[in-house]
Subunit: 213 residues, 2 copies
Amino acid sequence: MQIAIALFDGFAALDAVGPYQVFSHLPGAQVSFVAERAGMLADDRAMLRLGADAAFAEVPAPDLVVIPGGPGQSGQMGDGPLREWLLAADRTSQFTTSVCTGALILADAGLLAGRRATTHWLAMDELARLGAVPVTERVVQDGKYVTGAGVSAGLDMALTLAGQIAGDEVAQSIQLGIEYDPQPPYQAGSPAKAPEQMVRRQRELSRFTPAGQ
Amino acid sequence: MQIAIALFDGFAALDAVGPYQVFSHLPGAQVSFVAERAGMLADDRAMLRLGADAAFAEVPAPDLVVIPGGPGQSGQMGDGPLREWLLAADRTSQFTTSVCTGALILADAGLLAGRRATTHWLAMDELARLGAVPVTERVVQDGKYVTGAGVSAGLDMALTLAGQIAGDEVAQSIQLGIEYDPQPPYQAGSPAKAPEQMVRRQRELSRFTPAGQ
């Protein structure tokens, strides 16, 4: 199975590497990082560089597409090389997926029109504005479109898909191998659980919050 | 605060990128990936390449050291550039940390002698053999030495430390930002939770299991 993870400058590192860590252990999977041009792409913190193995044109028909998010997502809206590749790849993909604000790229390309989907909690209104039906769940599947919530949700998204692709036992075995038995020291990972003031502050600072709100 | 994440060929990607995703959002933190030579390092699946910004010698005294694990750990035991750098950096570090089998590198270098520590569940006996006191916990702290369990535990390790470094509110705010509200679709992430036969099979296949056991 050929799996392509798209990269662009300003992606969030874990959005891409979480799914990679799971999918790279799928038996028979070949995972490629693809971008407009092969080479190094910097993440949104500009302190990490990940290699794209291939240009989009070299991986035209992957079985599984992963679109990560991150602040750089804003540069991938509208026409452009990523959208062109995404729309072509989506015609033959078994699964087209996203993590975090990668869902906005899918939606902007028209792939989530009327479909249930999720994204980073700060971008749910924007996802609706782009025509999807936002659902507050960690992983949302609507047909072959599978979207994960913010950043770290790519791990849960990929494990869910690994089970569908290779069976529950393989997915569980990958989970055991990467010892994914999460025990965060705080319970602040969602707006429903974090202190109210912290949620409000992040909303105020968000690039998705219209000015004045 | 200067944070250095060591890389070597055959590291496990999430071991390095999990802590990075947390630490790169610490106010004032400068995170560098360092290796024997600056350049690209391939992960253990040989399908991901991460950039090392600097050679070890260029980052001699980071405040926080992260040693990831992965199968490539075996090439970092004994004398060599990584150990030499690690021992020098540890003299002035505020924290010396590891994820997964990175703990074996710390232990082999003598830094965990008689100290409580953890590692990937398959490597706990090896950690004891190298002089540490293995503890089956997700994150173990003994003085300035902070070790995380397998692969994905680097997220929990880094959030724990983020709280100590910058306070609970900052750590919680990072958790909310990366929406770290884990909901794995299976409960197989530790040997205590996974099917017994699966645990046995991974033990049999493990490079840490003495032949014949």
